[in-house]
Symmetry: C2
Subunit: 309 residues, 2 copies
């Protein structure tokens, strides 16, 4: 498999009701790679400043993430600071310092340009389009976006969607993008504008996949302790695309399993701050959680109903 | 099977963004029976006023619902009027007129007292306890409640819970009752106070079952058009308990399937106003939807992960 991710590599400062962390390794490309590298090698393209503690990305390298596309530019790294509400369902951004990320123009190293699987992390859709100009016919182009781009870069985003196979968004973003509150209709709207597949992430309510042929619903893993939701969406994407890249097939059975692997990775991500839980996550722990997902949803078909008495 | 439901039989006036209906047949016992009678006979205990259009309950009788426990008292029937928000996720109560329901004291006819399956619809927990005094050792005692009783009849409700096997509540009620935002911990709290099983209904996000041995997650059926949510919770309960009563077994495979039958009945209920969709619902339509639920959630286990490249 050859799997390329383009996105942010950041330093996150997070406050939750359970504690706080300063300058933790974060960013969409980082979380994605940490999850996807459980399935096979990953190629990462991003940018950091001269202040970035690069040694803290060594665990990615050790897991087969090729950081040849991670540029280091003079200046500060992208920093985000946020505070979560008591129920962890909402958050306030305390500070966003783009630093070198403000001038980021993704340059895909020649060795990465034939990637068969591509994930465009949540960056300016203009840049996501620039990535597409540099790669050769991936088997799957998946991308993420956010409210900021839906509002401020609508035209570029719509041009991007025409060229994308799979859009992963959260429920609020799907509603905002389509202007439709009903998630099924929202997904159909998105499909009419390009992506044949849409994943709608619903946080503690799980995630749904809509393809042209079927819909699939994955529950959230019921956790007694959710520690910090940062990165869960990118870990989901890493599990989803990483699993598909490893399988090498895009049929219904594999897409269904990809939803479960994505959900499993997302559930691990929220168990601790930042990447903490993903760094030492072992393949057998992942398999065990996938088995739990099956127990959580499987039922046997079925006793026929007789006519009424 | 012998399945007894005690609850309200009402007239509902509902406004949604899609239309309005006046004095539609409603009430927890009515919705429950309409759903449960697809599985077998049901015994109903409730009260209506002299103004109630009893002939509009004929469809229940035709489906094997024994209305011998439905008393008719001098006075007005219980009327509820409400208006749903644009997204159908919230509603304002416009009017509640209890009428004869204000003085309701459930009297279980002798022929109903050996019911093996009992559902206590959402009424005053003091009355729910009075029902328990009149029945002989049902195999399953299930009950519903609401914010009004959690706040105003807390002590009686806690006494009731000690004697109940299964509590069905929505997510907000589970949180309110337990004082815990986390639904898994909320369910565990409820289990510590009596019911060995808890169903948490999450509306458009599906439902979860917690037993002492396992958790099960049922998705909501993805509908492009949700018409009116009234009665969905009672239809769910009717499908859940009705299926179990018919099966006659309370083991894990049947409880899982009961969750799907409940979810299916809930999904039909919201497709039209009030009971409209349930009245003419055919067993083969129900089976077809259960099959769809399986397609929506089933995935094959699983490709083992190799070590990283």
């Amino acid at each position: 498999m050859s799997l390329l991710v383009v996105g942010s590599v950041a330093l996150d400062s997070i406050e939750t009701p359970f504690g706080a962390v300063q300058d933790a390794v974060g960013g969409s490309a980082t979380f994605f790679s940490a999850a996807a590298s459980l399935f096979g090698p990953v190629q990462l393209v991003g940018v950091v400043g001269t202040d970035y503690p690069l040694e803290r990305l060594d665990f990615l390298r050790a897991r087969g993430v090729d950081l040849a596309g991670l540029e280091q530019e003079p200046g500060e790294s992208f920093r985000w600071a946020g505070r979560y509400s008591l129920d962890l369902n909402s958050r306030d951004t305390l500070e966003t310092r783009l630093g070198v990320f403000a001038e980021f123009r993704p340059r895909i190293p020649p060795a990465f340009r034939h990637a068969e699987w591509l994930f465009l992390g949540n960056i300016d859709p203009v840049l996501q389009l620039e990535v597409l100009e540099q790669v050769h016919a991936p088997q799957l182009i998946a991308c993420d976006t956010m409210n900021f781009w839906i509002e401020g870069r609508h035209e570029a985003l719509m041009r991007l969607l025409e060229r994308v196979d799979l859009l992963l968004v959260n429920d609020g973003e799907a509603r905002q993008l389509s202007g439709d509150h009903n998630l099924m209709r929202a997904a159909r709207w998105i499909q009419r504008h390009g992506p044949s597949m849409v994943v709608v992430k619903k946080g503690e309510h799980g995630a749904m996949l809509f393809t042209r042929d079927f819909a699939f619903s994955a529950p959230a893993y019921p956790l007694e302790e959710v520690f910090a939701p940062t990165g869960a969406g990118d870990a989901f994407a890493g599990g989803f695309v990483g699993y598909l890249a490893r399988a090498g097939v895009l049929d219904a059975p594999h897409l269904r399993r990809a939803m479960i692997y994505g959900s499993a990775l997302g559930s691990f991500a929220v168990e601790r701050f930042g990447l903490e839980r993903l760094i030492d996550l072992q393949p057998d722990e992942l398999q065990e959680r996938v088995r739990h997902f099956r127990e959580l949803t499987a039922f046997e078909d079925t006793m026929p109903l007789a006519a009424h008495a």
